[in-house]
């Protein structure tokens, strides 16, 4: 496995949690969903929302046309379980030597349970936070891995008053999530409150040392004639030995096509 990132944005399946009797451990060990995508499983929109998945499968009318949104049941009436969904996929990645593998979620609304090859991890609450799980130890030696994610809606999805209004009954504001989803003067209520794996999911393969959140800043002097690029970053050594490293930084400007000035 070479160092790099693999985005998991294809091949996802989804199912309403109340229609799946299996546990996350079973889904990712002995009883994965059938590849023929039989009900209750359907093709999923990941990244995306539960409503996006239902629309993709033509199980709801498009809420942004006419009065279609009125035909979609609101989470206040259906209960949170109705919009609590399983998402499932497989990916190829075998553990190798000194390699470390992380599973990364850039945005989940609102909380989730992650199962990978039968091992459970909790993704805590919060729509605007990244989650990184070290999955090196749970990868299958032959490289074929099963991933299931049970995504829960916001804790306070709220109720939409009959007359609508700014932010419905404001309950969604108790969570750290988007607030337009209870409807606003410019927007109809979003029935699932944007529940889902709504931003990128990826696998990252690194060696023993990985780079986290570099911060780039420039300073200027002498009327912008002189400039300095400052960079601070975090380096994590995941190994049990002292890592002697070479850190390189290169700044280039693309002149044309693949020709760069360094």
């Amino acid at each position: 496995a070479s160092v790099g990132k693999l985005v998991l944005d294809t091949g996802w399946l989804a199912a309403r949690s109340t229609e799946v009797a299996l546990t996350g451990v079973e889904l990712t060990t002995t009883h994965p969903p059938d590849a023929s995508v039989a009900a209750p499983w359907m093709h999923a929109a990941v990244p995306g929302t539960v409503l996006g998945t239902l629309l993709k499968n033509k199980l709801i009318p498009d809420p942004f046309y006419g009065l279609n949104n009125e035909a979609i049941i609101d989470i206040a009436d259906s209960g949170r379980e109705y919009y609590t969904f399983w998402f499932f996929t497989t990916f190829q990645c075998a553990p190798a030597g000194n390699r470390h593998v992380s599973l990364n979620f850039r945005g989940v609304n609102y909380s989730a349970e992650v199962y990978i090859n039968g091992h459970k991890e909790i993704l805590p609450k919060g729509m605007f936070r990244r989650h990184t799980l070290d999955i090196t130890e749970v990868l299958h030696p032959e490289g074929s891995n099963l991933l299931a994610v049970l995504v829960h809606p916001p804790d306070h999805p709220g109720t939409i008053p009959p007359q609508g209004g700014q932010g419905g009954d404001h309950e969604i504001g108790k969570d750290v999530a988007t607030q337009y989803v209870e409807g606003w003067d410019w927007m109809c209520p979003i029935r699932d409150r944007n529940t889902g794996i709504w931003d990128e999911v990826s696998i990252c393969i690194t060696g023993a040392v990985n780079i986290t959140d570099p911060h780039l800043v420039s300073t200027f002097h002498d009327d912008f004639k002189r400039s300095y690029l400052h960079c601070t970053l975090q380096l994590e050594n995941k190994s049990s030995w002292l890592a002697d490293c070479s850190l390189k930084i290169q700044v280039s400007a693309e002149l044309e096509g693949d020709i760069c000035l360094v």
């Binding site: 605007f128 300073t219 400039s227 070479s246 930084i249």
Partner: protein, 237 residues
């Protein structure tokens, strides 16, 4: 001089914060907002090799050399922006999100943002009731020269207004709010288009959140050094 290498030793099972010695540039091509010049972007590539084991990790990002300043104008009460020392007349639009089902593809972002640039806008304000926008959104704002005014998630839903009355003290979990805010800043802070963080929509967040945000986001004294003493107190971003 823009390819440098440094030897570093990292103890086992530890995290090291490392500041790379500043890289000098003579007259770099500056990043300008739409309508004021080119949106020059440099590609910054960072990699770490473990001796004897080869490449361990790599990271890259497009970076624009630009200096954004803003202050409140005493006579009008409005916010004034300068980019690279030049005053700029803001032609802005309000942005919530690209799609209510969060189908946020790169192609959609590119099209939407180019459309705003073609409309001669130079700023988008990401409203506090919507998203902290995604890296792809910011990438295309970098490319097309749209500065971004990014608000955190505070609206009339969390200030005691509305009917029924909303929770007057913001979201229930202030620590979670700040955790999400800090992570969002780390996700987006390297984009040239990011011009201003704002606590919320047309209001101030709860005191503790506001204080923490202001403290975390205040400019390092090093970056105030070449502004005049008289103006230092005025610069808010």
């Amino acid at each position: 001089e823009h390819l440098q290498s440094y030897a570093i030793s990292i103890p086992p099972r530890s995290v090291l914060e490392y500041t790379i010695p500043p890289l000098f540039f003579y007259k770099p091509n500056l990043w300008w907002p739409n309508g004021m010049g080119k949106q020059s972007l440099y590609n910054v590539e960072i990699s770490v090799d473990v001796n004897g084991l080869g490449e361990s990790d790599a990271w890259s990002h497009y970076f624009g050399f630009r200096k954004v300043e803003s202050s409140i104008d005493d006579s009008t009460g409005g916010r004034i922006f300068k980019v690279n020392g030049e005053p700029i007349f803001i032609r802005g639009g309000n942005w919530i999100l690209s799609d209510g089902l969060l189908r946020l593809t790169k192609k959609r972002y590119m099209t939407d943002i180019k459309f705003h640039a073609d409309m001669n806008f130079n700023m988008l304000r990401c409203w506090g009731g919507g998203l902290a926008e995604r890296p792809d959104f910011y990438h295309f704002c970098d490319v097309y020269g749209l500065m971004v005014w990014q608000e955190f998630w505070i609206t009339g839903d969390v200030d005691g207004r509305g009917l029924p009355i909303s929770n007057p003290d913001g979201p229930l979990d202030h620590a979670l709010f700040l955790l999400c805010a800090r992570d969002t800043v780390k996700l987006l802070r390297n984009h040239a288009s990011l011009a201003l963080w704002v606590g919320g929509n047309e209001q101030v967040p709860p005191i503790d959140i506001n204080r923490a945000l202001k403290n975390d986001l205040k400019l390092h004294p090093m970056f105030l050094s070449n502004q005049t003493t008289k103006n230092q107190g005025k610069y808010l971003s």
